[in-house]
Protein backbone atom coordinates (compact mmCIF):
# COMPACT_ATOMS: atom_id res chain seq x y z
CA UNK A 1 0.00 0.00 0.00
CA UNK A 2 2.86 2.35 0.82
CA UNK A 3 4.51 1.72 -2.53
CA UNK A 4 1.23 2.40 -4.31
CA UNK A 5 0.73 5.57 -2.31
CA UNK A 6 4.21 6.84 -3.13
CA UNK A 7 4.00 6.21 -6.84
CA UNK A 8 0.48 7.61 -7.26
CA UNK A 9 1.29 10.58 -5.04
CA UNK A 10 4.39 11.35 -7.10
CA UNK A 11 2.46 11.38 -10.35
CA UNK A 12 -0.60 13.16 -8.99
CA UNK A 13 1.52 15.94 -7.45
CA UNK A 14 2.72 16.91 -10.91
CA UNK A 15 -0.75 17.17 -12.36
CA UNK A 16 -2.07 18.67 -9.12
CA UNK A 17 0.43 21.53 -9.14
CA UNK A 18 -0.53 22.45 -12.68
CA UNK A 19 -4.21 22.39 -11.73
CA UNK A 20 -3.43 24.56 -8.68
CA UNK A 21 -1.74 27.18 -10.83
CA UNK A 22 -4.59 27.09 -13.35
CA UNK A 23 -7.20 27.49 -10.62
CA UNK A 24 -5.37 30.51 -9.25
CA UNK A 25 -4.94 31.97 -12.74
CA UNK A 26 -8.65 31.64 -13.53
CA UNK A 27 -9.85 33.11 -10.28
CA UNK A 28 -12.67 35.48 -10.94
CA UNK A 29 -13.65 34.01 -14.27
CA UNK A 30 -17.19 32.67 -14.22
CA UNK A 31 -17.55 29.12 -15.39
CA UNK A 32 -13.94 28.24 -14.59
CA UNK A 33 -15.03 25.31 -12.42
CA UNK A 34 -16.70 23.68 -15.40
CA UNK A 35 -13.70 24.27 -17.64
CA UNK A 36 -11.12 23.04 -15.14
CA UNK A 37 -13.21 20.02 -14.11
CA UNK A 38 -13.88 19.33 -17.79
CA UNK A 39 -10.16 19.53 -18.51
CA UNK A 40 -9.36 17.13 -15.68
CA UNK A 41 -12.08 14.74 -16.79
CA UNK A 42 -10.96 14.87 -20.42
CA UNK A 43 -7.40 14.27 -19.24
CA UNK A 44 -8.54 11.29 -17.21
CA UNK A 45 -10.42 9.81 -20.17
CA UNK A 46 -7.38 10.44 -22.33
CA UNK A 47 -5.16 8.77 -19.73
CA UNK A 48 -7.36 5.65 -19.82
CA UNK A 49 -7.23 5.64 -23.62
CA UNK A 50 -3.45 6.09 -23.65
CA UNK A 51 -3.12 3.28 -21.10
CA UNK A 52 -5.46 1.01 -23.06
CA UNK A 53 -3.61 1.59 -26.32
CA UNK A 54 -0.15 1.88 -24.77
CA UNK A 55 1.14 -0.99 -26.88
CA UNK A 56 -0.15 0.46 -30.14
CA UNK A 57 1.13 3.94 -29.32
CA UNK A 58 4.56 2.59 -28.40
CA UNK A 59 4.87 0.91 -31.79
CA UNK A 60 4.32 4.12 -33.74
CA UNK A 61 7.27 5.99 -35.25
CA UNK A 62 9.58 2.96 -35.12
CA UNK A 63 9.02 2.46 -31.42
CA UNK A 64 9.15 6.13 -30.46
CA UNK A 65 5.39 6.71 -30.36
CA UNK A 66 5.33 7.31 -26.63
CA UNK A 67 8.03 9.98 -26.93
CA UNK A 68 6.20 11.59 -29.87
CA UNK A 69 2.97 11.72 -27.88
CA UNK A 70 4.69 13.18 -24.82
CA UNK A 71 6.61 15.80 -26.81
CA UNK A 72 3.46 16.65 -28.79
CA UNK A 73 1.16 17.21 -25.81
CA UNK A 74 3.88 19.16 -24.01
CA UNK A 75 4.25 21.53 -26.96
CA UNK A 76 0.45 21.97 -27.07
CA UNK A 77 0.51 22.86 -23.36
CA UNK A 78 3.30 25.41 -23.93
CA UNK A 79 1.30 27.02 -26.74
CA UNK A 80 -1.80 27.22 -24.51
CA UNK A 81 0.18 28.83 -21.69
CA UNK A 82 1.68 31.42 -24.06
CA UNK A 83 -1.86 32.12 -25.26
CA UNK A 84 -3.07 32.54 -21.72
CA UNK A 85 -0.27 34.91 -20.74
CA UNK A 86 -1.01 36.96 -23.84
CA UNK A 87 -4.63 37.16 -22.76
CA UNK A 88 -3.62 38.08 -19.22
CA UNK A 89 -1.44 40.88 -20.61
CA UNK A 90 -4.41 42.47 -22.33
CA UNK A 91 -7.11 41.70 -19.76
CA UNK A 92 -5.22 41.35 -16.50
CA UNK A 93 -5.84 44.88 -15.26
CA UNK A 94 -9.48 44.79 -16.18
CA UNK A 95 -9.84 41.38 -14.57
CA UNK A 96 -8.16 42.52 -11.38
CA UNK A 97 -10.53 45.48 -11.20
CA UNK A 98 -13.59 43.35 -11.57
CA UNK A 99 -12.48 40.30 -9.69
CA UNK A 100 -15.36 40.64 -7.27
CA UNK A 101 -18.09 41.42 -9.76
CA UNK A 102 -17.29 39.55 -12.92
CA UNK A 103 -19.67 40.17 -15.74
CA UNK A 104 -18.50 41.10 -19.17
CA UNK A 105 -15.01 39.66 -18.76
CA UNK A 106 -16.53 36.21 -18.91
CA UNK A 107 -17.18 36.17 -22.61
CA UNK A 108 -13.65 37.12 -23.51
CA UNK A 109 -12.26 34.88 -20.82
CA UNK A 110 -13.82 31.73 -22.19
CA UNK A 111 -11.15 31.27 -24.83
CA UNK A 112 -8.41 31.62 -22.26
CA UNK A 113 -10.33 29.23 -20.01
CA UNK A 114 -10.38 26.70 -22.82
CA UNK A 115 -6.61 27.07 -23.24
CA UNK A 116 -6.07 26.45 -19.54
CA UNK A 117 -8.54 23.56 -19.50
CA UNK A 118 -6.39 21.98 -22.22
CA UNK A 119 -3.31 22.54 -20.06
CA UNK A 120 -5.05 20.70 -17.18
CA UNK A 121 -6.12 17.93 -19.52
CA UNK A 122 -2.57 17.48 -20.79
CA UNK A 123 -1.14 17.37 -17.28
CA UNK A 124 -3.69 14.80 -16.14
CA UNK A 125 -3.28 12.81 -19.35
CA UNK A 126 0.48 12.49 -18.98
CA UNK A 127 0.65 11.64 -15.30
CA UNK A 128 -2.69 9.83 -15.24
CA UNK A 129 -1.80 7.29 -17.91
CA UNK A 130 1.17 6.18 -15.81
CA UNK A 131 -1.04 5.82 -12.75
CA UNK A 132 -3.66 3.87 -14.71
CA UNK A 133 -1.01 1.52 -16.13
CA UNK A 134 0.49 0.99 -12.71
CA UNK A 135 -2.82 0.30 -10.99
CA UNK A 136 -3.90 -1.94 -13.87
CA UNK A 137 -0.72 -3.95 -13.47
CA UNK A 138 -1.34 -4.27 -9.76
CA UNK A 139 -4.94 -5.32 -10.24
CA UNK A 140 -3.98 -7.84 -12.93
CA UNK A 141 -1.20 -9.36 -10.87
CA UNK A 142 -3.41 -10.78 -8.13
CA UNK A 143 -6.18 -10.01 -5.71
CA UNK A 144 -4.31 -10.55 -2.45
CA UNK A 145 -2.98 -7.05 -2.05
CA UNK A 146 -5.12 -5.28 -4.63
CA UNK A 147 -7.36 -3.68 -2.04
CA UNK A 148 -4.42 -2.33 -0.08
CA UNK A 149 -2.78 -1.03 -3.20
CA UNK A 150 -5.96 0.55 -4.49
CA UNK A 151 -6.51 2.31 -1.18
CA UNK A 152 -2.89 3.43 -1.35
CA UNK A 153 -3.63 4.77 -4.80
CA UNK A 154 -6.70 6.64 -3.61
CA UNK A 155 -4.71 8.12 -0.72
CA UNK A 156 -2.08 9.17 -3.26
CA UNK A 157 -4.72 10.96 -5.33
CA UNK A 158 -6.05 12.63 -2.18
CA UNK A 159 -2.51 13.66 -1.21
CA UNK A 160 -1.96 15.16 -4.65
CA UNK A 161 -5.24 17.04 -4.33
CA UNK A 162 -4.12 18.45 -0.98
CA UNK A 163 -0.85 19.73 -2.51
CA UNK A 164 -2.86 21.26 -5.33
CA UNK A 165 -5.21 22.94 -2.83
CA UNK A 166 -2.30 24.22 -0.73
CA UNK A 167 -0.65 25.76 -3.78
CA UNK A 168 -3.94 27.34 -4.80
CA UNK A 169 -4.60 28.75 -1.33
CA UNK A 170 -1.02 29.98 -1.13
CA UNK A 171 -1.35 31.73 -4.47
CA UNK A 172 -4.69 33.38 -3.78
CA UNK A 173 -3.33 34.63 -0.45
CA UNK A 174 -1.02 36.88 -2.48
CA UNK A 175 -2.37 40.45 -2.51
CA UNK A 176 -4.28 41.19 -5.69
CA UNK A 177 -1.89 43.83 -6.99
CA UNK A 178 0.93 41.27 -6.96
CA UNK A 179 -1.14 38.23 -7.90
CA UNK A 180 -1.15 38.76 -11.65
CA UNK A 181 2.56 39.42 -11.75
CA UNK A 182 3.28 36.29 -9.73
CA UNK A 183 0.93 34.19 -11.86
CA UNK A 184 2.40 35.50 -15.09
CA UNK A 185 5.89 34.64 -13.86
CA UNK A 186 4.75 31.23 -12.65
CA UNK A 187 3.00 30.39 -15.91
CA UNK A 188 6.04 31.58 -17.85
CA UNK A 189 8.35 29.27 -15.90
CA UNK A 190 5.82 26.41 -16.05
CA UNK A 191 5.68 26.74 -19.83
CA UNK A 192 9.47 27.05 -20.09
CA UNK A 193 9.87 23.86 -18.05
CA UNK A 194 7.37 21.99 -20.23
CA UNK A 195 9.20 23.10 -23.36
CA UNK A 196 12.47 21.82 -21.89
CA UNK A 197 10.80 18.48 -21.10
CA UNK A 198 9.57 18.28 -24.68
CA UNK A 199 13.21 18.56 -25.81
CA UNK A 200 14.09 15.63 -23.58
CA UNK A 201 11.41 13.48 -25.18
CA UNK A 202 12.51 14.55 -28.66
CA UNK A 203 16.04 13.44 -27.76
CA UNK A 204 14.75 10.19 -26.26
CA UNK A 205 12.70 9.55 -29.40
CA UNK A 206 15.80 9.94 -31.56
CA UNK A 207 14.77 13.14 -33.36
CA UNK A 208 17.17 15.38 -31.55
CA UNK A 209 20.78 14.30 -31.56
CA UNK A 210 22.71 17.47 -30.82
CA UNK A 211 22.86 19.58 -27.69
CA UNK A 212 21.67 16.60 -25.68
CA UNK A 213 24.37 16.02 -23.08
CA UNK A 214 23.95 17.55 -19.63
CA UNK A 215 25.65 20.90 -19.13
CA UNK A 216 25.89 20.59 -15.36
CA UNK A 217 24.66 18.42 -12.51
CA UNK A 218 23.05 19.89 -9.41
CA UNK A 219 21.42 16.66 -8.26
CA UNK A 220 23.58 16.66 -5.13
CA UNK A 221 21.98 20.00 -4.18
CA UNK A 222 18.41 19.24 -5.20
CA UNK A 223 17.61 15.84 -6.70
CA UNK A 224 14.81 15.68 -9.24
CA UNK A 225 13.81 12.38 -7.67
CA UNK A 226 13.01 14.04 -4.32
CA UNK A 227 9.60 15.57 -3.64
CA UNK A 228 10.94 19.16 -3.39
CA UNK A 229 12.89 18.50 -6.57
CA UNK A 230 9.75 17.32 -8.35
CA UNK A 231 7.76 20.33 -7.16
CA UNK A 232 10.51 22.65 -8.41
CA UNK A 233 10.60 20.63 -11.63
CA UNK A 234 6.89 21.17 -12.28
CA UNK A 235 6.59 24.75 -11.12
CA UNK A 236 9.85 26.26 -12.34
CA UNK A 237 11.09 23.63 -14.78
CA UNK A 238 13.98 22.77 -12.48
CA UNK A 239 16.28 20.19 -14.00
CA UNK A 240 19.30 18.84 -12.18
CA UNK A 241 21.05 17.97 -15.44
CA UNK A 242 19.80 20.21 -18.23
CA UNK A 243 21.14 19.76 -21.73
CA UNK A 244 21.87 22.68 -24.05
CA UNK A 245 18.69 22.01 -26.04
CA UNK A 246 16.58 21.95 -22.87
CA UNK A 247 18.17 25.17 -21.64
CA UNK A 248 17.68 26.78 -25.06
CA UNK A 249 14.00 25.79 -25.15
CA UNK A 250 13.55 27.06 -21.59
CA UNK A 251 15.11 30.45 -22.36
CA UNK A 252 13.32 30.68 -25.72
CA UNK A 253 9.90 30.28 -24.10
CA UNK A 254 10.73 32.93 -21.50
CA UNK A 255 11.85 35.24 -24.30
CA UNK A 256 8.66 34.59 -26.29
CA UNK A 257 6.54 35.28 -23.21
CA UNK A 258 8.33 38.57 -22.56
CA UNK A 259 7.99 39.69 -26.18
CA UNK A 260 4.31 38.72 -26.32
CA UNK A 261 3.61 40.62 -23.12
CA UNK A 262 5.46 43.69 -24.31
CA UNK A 263 3.76 43.76 -27.73
CA UNK A 264 0.28 43.15 -26.34
CA UNK A 265 0.86 45.51 -23.44
CA UNK A 266 1.77 48.28 -25.91
CA UNK A 267 -1.23 47.55 -28.11
CA UNK A 268 -3.59 47.58 -25.18
CA UNK A 269 -1.97 50.72 -23.83
CA UNK A 270 -2.30 52.38 -27.24
CA UNK A 271 -5.94 51.40 -27.50
CA UNK A 272 -6.67 52.75 -24.05
CA UNK A 273 -5.03 56.08 -24.91
CA UNK A 274 -6.95 56.28 -28.18
CA UNK A 275 -10.26 55.60 -26.49
CA UNK A 276 -9.53 58.07 -23.71
Amino acid sequence: MLAAFIIVFREVIEAGLVVGVVLAATRGLAGRGTYVAGGIFAGFLGACLVAAFAGGIADLFEGSGQEALNAGVLIVAVAMLVWHNAWMASHGRELARELKAVGHAVKEGSRSLMALAIVCAVAVLREGSEVVLFLYGVAAAGQTTALGILSGGLLGIAGGAVISALLYLGLIAIPLRHLFGVLTALITLLAAGLAAQAMRFLAQGGWLNDWVTPLWDTSSVLSEASIPGRVAHVLFGYMAQPSASELAAYLAVIAVMLVVRRVIGQETGGRMQASA
Partner: protein
Amino acid sequence: MTISILRPAILAAACIACAALPAAAADVQTIELTLKDHKFSPETIEVPANERFQIKLTNADATPDEFDSTDLRVEKVVGGGQTGIIRIQPLVPGRYMFMGEYHAATARGIVVAK
Protein backbone atom coordinates in the same frame (compact mmCIF):
# COMPACT_ATOMS: atom_id res chain seq x y z
CA MET B 1 25.31 -10.45 -10.52
CA THR B 2 28.20 -10.83 -12.90
CA ILE B 3 28.97 -7.93 -15.13
CA SER B 4 27.92 -8.68 -18.63
CA ILE B 5 30.53 -7.59 -21.10
CA LEU B 6 29.63 -7.72 -24.73
CA ARG B 7 32.30 -9.73 -26.45
CA PRO B 8 33.78 -8.35 -29.66
CA ALA B 9 32.27 -11.21 -31.66
CA ILE B 10 28.77 -10.32 -30.55
CA LEU B 11 29.49 -6.68 -31.19
CA ALA B 12 30.69 -7.43 -34.68
CA ALA B 13 27.61 -9.53 -35.37
CA ALA B 14 25.43 -6.76 -34.02
CA CYS B 15 27.15 -4.24 -36.24
CA ILE B 16 26.58 -6.36 -39.31
CA ALA B 17 22.94 -6.74 -38.33
CA CYS B 18 22.71 -3.00 -37.73
CA ALA B 19 24.17 -2.19 -41.13
CA ALA B 20 20.84 -3.15 -42.67
CA LEU B 21 19.00 -0.59 -40.54
CA PRO B 22 18.78 3.18 -41.12
CA ALA B 23 22.01 5.10 -40.62
CA ALA B 24 20.84 6.61 -37.34
CA ALA B 25 20.55 3.21 -35.70
CA ALA B 26 23.68 1.74 -37.25
CA ASP B 27 26.27 3.56 -35.20
CA VAL B 28 24.56 2.98 -31.88
CA GLN B 29 25.31 0.09 -29.58
CA THR B 30 22.21 -1.79 -28.49
CA ILE B 31 22.11 -3.51 -25.14
CA GLU B 32 19.54 -6.21 -24.49
CA LEU B 33 17.81 -6.00 -21.14
CA THR B 34 15.05 -8.26 -19.89
CA LEU B 35 12.55 -7.66 -17.15
CA LYS B 36 11.21 -10.87 -15.67
CA ASP B 37 9.51 -11.47 -12.33
CA HIS B 38 9.97 -7.70 -11.85
CA LYS B 39 13.75 -8.04 -11.94
CA PHE B 40 16.17 -6.77 -14.55
CA SER B 41 18.63 -9.07 -16.20
CA PRO B 42 21.42 -8.18 -16.38
CA GLU B 43 21.23 -5.86 -13.42
CA THR B 44 24.51 -4.21 -14.31
CA ILE B 45 25.15 -2.83 -17.75
CA GLU B 46 28.59 -1.68 -18.73
CA VAL B 47 28.97 0.82 -21.55
CA PRO B 48 31.76 2.95 -22.94
CA ALA B 49 31.58 6.55 -21.72
CA ASN B 50 30.86 9.43 -24.09
CA GLU B 51 29.04 7.23 -26.58
CA ARG B 52 25.40 7.14 -27.45
CA PHE B 53 23.74 3.75 -26.89
CA GLN B 54 20.32 2.25 -26.59
CA ILE B 55 18.73 -0.29 -24.32
CA LYS B 56 16.33 -2.76 -25.85
CA LEU B 57 14.10 -3.69 -22.96
CA THR B 58 12.01 -6.83 -23.24
CA ASN B 59 9.30 -6.95 -20.62
CA ALA B 60 8.74 -10.66 -20.06
CA ASP B 61 6.21 -9.99 -17.32
CA ALA B 62 2.49 -9.83 -17.93
CA THR B 63 2.13 -6.34 -16.52
CA PRO B 64 3.51 -3.01 -17.76
CA ASP B 65 6.43 -1.30 -16.12
CA GLU B 66 8.19 2.00 -16.54
CA PHE B 67 11.91 2.12 -17.13
CA ASP B 68 12.73 5.16 -15.07
CA SER B 69 16.06 6.78 -14.34
CA THR B 70 16.67 10.27 -13.06
CA ASP B 71 20.40 9.65 -13.52
CA LEU B 72 20.03 8.65 -17.16
CA ARG B 73 17.27 11.25 -17.67
CA VAL B 74 14.82 8.86 -19.31
CA GLU B 75 11.43 7.35 -18.59
CA LYS B 76 9.61 4.91 -20.80
CA VAL B 77 6.65 2.64 -20.24
CA VAL B 78 6.99 -0.86 -21.69
CA GLY B 79 3.83 -2.95 -21.71
CA GLY B 80 3.61 -6.54 -20.53
CA GLY B 81 5.16 -8.89 -23.10
CA GLN B 82 6.40 -5.97 -25.16
CA THR B 83 9.74 -4.53 -26.17
CA GLY B 84 10.84 -0.93 -25.94
CA ILE B 85 13.87 0.97 -27.14
CA ILE B 86 15.36 3.42 -24.67
CA ARG B 87 17.85 5.83 -26.19
CA ILE B 88 20.58 7.06 -23.89
CA GLN B 89 22.71 10.09 -24.65
CA PRO B 90 26.51 9.97 -24.19
CA LEU B 91 27.41 9.60 -20.52
CA VAL B 92 30.38 10.85 -18.58
CA PRO B 93 32.12 8.03 -16.66
CA GLY B 94 30.11 7.04 -13.62
CA ARG B 95 27.37 4.87 -12.19
CA TYR B 96 23.78 5.47 -13.18
CA MET B 97 20.90 3.86 -11.30
CA PHE B 98 17.72 2.84 -13.07
CA MET B 99 14.53 1.13 -11.91
CA GLY B 100 11.23 -0.27 -13.00
CA GLU B 101 9.09 2.36 -11.37
CA TYR B 102 6.04 0.13 -10.91
CA HIS B 103 8.06 -2.49 -9.04
CA ALA B 104 10.80 -0.35 -7.60
CA ALA B 105 11.44 -2.72 -4.69
CA THR B 106 12.85 -5.45 -6.94
CA ALA B 107 13.32 -3.98 -10.39
CA ARG B 108 16.60 -2.14 -10.00
CA GLY B 109 19.75 -1.92 -12.02
CA ILE B 110 22.77 0.15 -12.79
CA VAL B 111 24.56 1.42 -15.86
CA VAL B 112 28.31 1.75 -15.47
CA ALA B 113 29.91 4.09 -18.00
CA LYS B 114 33.66 3.67 -18.34
